[in-house]
Symmetry: C2
Subunit: 466 residues, 2 copies
């Protein structure tokens, strides 16, 4: 696919649509929009455009389709698979100005929002009305809801409440042609035509640009309890998660942290938490609901289950501050790993009960290739973030061995019934591995669907597949 | 699109694939496979084929694609939108012999099944392992799980537990080309490529034939409570449903029945239930969970909410028999209406709080066109089944007025933020109204997606759209 570079007449056109202040061409700014949170990658766009509404995006996409100018949609740039990187240059289209929560429908437990709203802001705003939007990626304090939809994000609460796709009722989308559609209807049940809504969720900005989002909400649970359990064996920590489910309890979070994950995080953001010295891994376990007694009983049952394994002293958070400290410990791991070493993060996912096998396999692969890994993630979903550390490896070793090791890890995931990304997406950096998850027939279907939506191939080119 | 009729050489080919006993050409049998439960429609196929596994279906579809022989997939034939009717003749492909539950994964709360398993059989089988598959269409005693996936079925429990799409993890699908694919992976979180699984769910057998299904399951709730509440006003019954949700309670069923719906049903299947003479409508309200005290408290809260409205004496089911009788009352309505009069059922859906407006609107349209309607359905989801009765109307009136009235009802749904089918699908009989829900741009996307999967247009032709 040949693309056109952006020229001065194109810039003038974009300025005429969104206003001059909202077309960025300054080198410093282009640099900033040339990165996301994926490793150390940089791909500078030719220009950045900051539209304020769907009509502007419509005219921009129609124009770029006609001229084959690549358009890379961007939310907050917190992605971990390079989905927002303009790898072919061209235009970055940021939704940052489209940051209004448009309507909280308290009667129907729905919210209609623009894509550039920070996920935590959305959650806190609906919470004030007693409503609950559960999906909460670790970056929820900075990521946009639009990006969450592009990647079908999850987070700790997914284990009980599901992922983003389970909350999206309806989307307003600007197609590459410039046409604006709604993908469905704002209802809980829908058997009317193909599910364009679910096709759009997780499509990583390759099929259209989402401009309005209707989410279903739940009544906010009134109480929660949180417990940190240190395990003397990482494999046993994974096994314990499954044992909890087999007791018929669905915790609202079942997070796994290897010793090093927790330690690095605590170094980055010290707190009053004292980590058990003998622990090889930790589980962070939460229950929530409206009845404190019931939560307490569930926590007691969970406590009884974990006692079957070799564990240290469990820490039940007594105060809101303790809860916040424990969640901070968990949520800061990604950042702590990033600061510790050059690294590569893989977002592996398998059926929950296979997690101990996956963890063992990852460690064995690491021993064979000579790297250390720090693993953590959403054990209740079988979703393990594997952070491979460069540390003492030479650049040559790193560049030569890493792709082979990753391939082996992903092949193991697929053998265990899993796949190669649970919540981070394929984007740019996982693309070389997609053929591990999909055969040519599946790939062909997806490419043809892409062509239906984007015949000129201008929208987020180079992502997911070529 | 021109199609080929089936000739004797085609029959021989089908016999060579599935064996002679499993190719049906007897006129009586063709008649049986020419109907489903949609009104009184009959479209006879040229032949019926009963494959036993995906490989056979693969060869049949490849053959029919090459020769442009229409293939209409069929489950149990319980559909209400004519999805299984071979409207262009050709081949009916029934999955009735593919009726094995292949694997209950008790460690991962998953079940892998063939499509021809009766939904209730699947539910009861996994229940014996303490597991729960919630979606329960009224026809669950006879419908197939494969058909439920084709239509994205719901049922009473959808209000708390979601619909079929919320339980489908992965599907083995035979494409019209004959290629066999899995649509995803058997995991709870997946951000790997486009969501082909969700594209397949609800596609009414127009994109591929599902041959294996992986469903996620839940721990089975240990207790439930059921209550019948008579209301002096149907609109107030709808309003009360919303008021229950606004108290933060999510019942596991919130079913609405107009007086006539309940009465017709009780006539068909008499029981010990005494219906309040003054009631204009009834709500059937269920709570479920593991803690009987909590359920009881929720039921008390629900009882307090409904007391704000003009209600008769509530009936709390004391025994399993009473529960069964109440559920039978609800589940037999469809059959009771069918026996009462020629009728036409519309599967309207709106945001929950708009249900009173929809009900009022339906009655006003009925008065204007001179027909009576019997309404019932899943009030918690805003999903109202509107049964328009022919009764004393002449055939000319019926044929001329009905499409206009239906159009008005559907336009009202869309104005209220809803759409034209909640769980029955578009199939054959709702196709004329699809343009009320979708504009030409949306339709064009769906048609092009159809073409990606089925370039020869042989699979369930004439359904959803032309």
């Amino acid at each position: 696919m040949m693309y056109q570079a952006i020229g001065s007449s194109d810039i003038q056109f974009f300025q005429s649509i969104v206003g001059s202040p909202f077309v960025l061409t300054d080198a410093d700014l282009l640099n900033r929009y040339g990165r996301d949170e994926t490793e150390d990658l940089l791909y500078c766009p030719d220009a950045v455009v900051l539209p304020s509404e769907a009509g502007q995006i419509s005219r921009i996409l129609a124009y770029c389709s006609e001229r084959r100018i690549p358009v890379t949609p961007r939310g907050a740039g917190t992605g971990l698979s390079g989905g927002a990187l303009p790898v072919f240059g061209g235009l970055v289209l940021s939704t940052e100005r489209m940051n209004r929560i448009l309507f909280i429908d308290e009667r129907n437990f729905q919210v209609t929002t623009e894509p550039g709203v920070i996920t935590e802001v959305l959650q806190e705003t609906v919470k004030q009305k007693g409503l609950f939007y559960p999906p909460d990626p670790a970056s929820r304090g900075s990521c946009f809801i639009g990006g969450n939809i592009a990647e079908n994000s999850g987070g700790p609460r997914a284990v009980k409440y599901g992922v983003v796709k389970d909350y999206v009722l309806n989307l307003e989308v600007v197609l590459p042609s410039g046409n604006i559609i709604w993908t469905g209807a704002s209802v809980l049940k829908n058997a009317t035509g193909y599910n364009l809504t679910q096709l759009m969720v997780g499509s990583e900005g390759t099929l259209g640009i989402v401009t309005r989002i209707v989410l279903r909400l739940l009544p906010h649970p009134r109480h929660d309890m949180l417990m940190l359990v240190p395990f003397h064996s990482a494999a046993q920590a994974c096994e314990a998660v499954n044992a909890i489910f087999l007791e018929g309890i669905i915790p609202s979070a079942a997070e796994f942290m290897e010793r090093d994950a927790a330690r690095l995080s605590l170094q980055l953001t010290p707190s009053s938490i004292a980590l058990d010295e003998q622990a090889e891994a930790f589980l962070l376990l939460e229950t929530d609901g409206n009845d404190p007694e019931l939560l307490f009983r569930d926590m007691e049952k969970i406590h009884a289950v974990v006692q079957r394994y070799a564990v240290g002293e469990t820490l039940l958070a007594e105060t809101a501050d303790q809860k916040a400290a424990l969640w901070k410990l968990r949520r800061s791991i990604g950042e702590a790993v990033r600061r510790h070493s050059v690294y590569k993060e893989e977002d592996t996912v398998v059926p929950r009960a296979e997690l101990p096998v996956l963890l063992d396999g990852v460690k064995a692969i690491g021993r064979r290739y000579g790297f250390r890994s720090v693993c953590y993630g959403h054990a209740g979903d079988g979703n393990l973030h594997v952070n491979i550390l460069k540390e003492q490896l030479s650049d040559a070793q790193w560049n030569e061995l890493l792709p082979r090791a990753i391939k082996e890890i992903f092949e193991l995931c697929v053998r265990l019934g899993g796949t190669i990304s649970g919540e981070h997406g394929i984007g740019w950096v996982q693309k070389p591995y997609l053929s591990i998850a999909f055969n040519p027939i599946q790939m062909d279907l997806m490419k043809k669907i892409k062509h239906v939506f984007d015949p000129a191939g201008i929208l987020n080119p180079g992502k997911i597949f070529d």
